[in-house]
């Protein structure tokens, strides 16, 4: 969002055409300009949220580089985000090492799970 909001219109951070393309990816929908504008704004908010939360996790672990594990932990701390995002994240290889010994190698070697990991497994990370 622009800094000088007093007179300038809001310029969404994301290209409008791309927003619409992604919206239409899995369904043949029509969307009016206001709606795609709001999606663009809310996506910006969501991205900032993810960035902020992931950075917090990285800081907690005293790391300077934000990694997927930090992102994953951040996602897990926010219920609405878990609902749609957790299954899509790559399965962490190292963080479940200690409890995953009984699992098949398939779960550890394939970075994206075929199916959601069991609930107890997700909580372990």
């Amino acid at each position: 969002m622009t800094e000088n909001e007093a007179v300038d219109p809001i310029r969404p951070e994301f290209p409008t055409g791309r927003v619409k393309k992604i919206m239409k990816l899995d369904k043949d929908i029509k969307v009016n300009p206001e709606a795609s504008f709001l999606i663009s704004c809310s996506t910006n908010l969501f991205l900032q949220f993810l960035a902020e939360r992931s950075a917090e996790v990285a800081a907690e672990k005293k790391k300077k580089t934000v990694k997927i594990d930090h992102l994953r932990t951040a996602v897990k701390r926010h219920r609405p985000t878990i609902d749609f995002l957790l299954d899509s994240l790559p399965v962490p290889a190292e963080s479940i090492q200690s409890v995953a010994n009984s699992l098949s190698d398939r779960d550890l070697s394939r970075p994206v799970a075929d199916k959601p990991a069991p609930p107890w497994l997700e909580l372990a990370a």
């Binding site: 007093a6 290209p15 969307v31 709001l38 900032q48």
Partner: protein, 233 residues
Amino acid sequence: MERDDGFNRFYKHAKSSSGLNIIHGGSSNSNNNNGIVSTDNGNAANSNAMPPPCTVREQDQYMPIANVIRIMRRILPTHAKISDDAKLTIQECVSEYISFITGEANERCQREQRKTITAEDVLWAMGKLGFDEYVEPLTVFLNRYRETQNERTSLRGEPVLKRGMDYGSSIMMAPPYAPPVFHVGHHQQGFLDGTTAMGGYLRDGSGGAAGGGSSSSQASLTNNNFDPFGQYM
């Protein structure tokens, strides 16, 4: 296609709700069909697998990585870095989010037998899916957007009021979407700074002024010494 449950969840939604059988590819959906193939492999990019040659390009299913990184860098501490795979993953998360909200908004649209997703559908979907803390700032943005649109048309000499009221009444008068107090939830520090001015405007400027588009308030908005707090206090 059980590999990518995240996206498939929404594709299944699409199949049942819109009637378009995207997995098998209708005639108008050949791109989307590739989109599904590519999406799986888009995620596979994180797993070091190579996407098949006939995929949808990144620019068709993700936000530009440069935009994503730029927004993240503004939030992260100066010294912080982001791993490459985290960047890619977050890029995918962004698209997932868009699909998620869009799917819900689209369902509502279809339930009410409308064809076009509106701003109200989007706001409703936010609330329903647990992102209600976004609803207030989004309403502010929307009002600002409408102001901008109205200013543009009024400069061209076209009627303003009708356009402003078409979508305005249902959004700005409805308490669930536009509560009078501008209060943002837990992650306000990330973006609130940029919206304070608009938030003040919303709180002090009534919905009528924003949507009705009276010429005097518009003129004052375009004034260079526009002061959201001074104007209406």
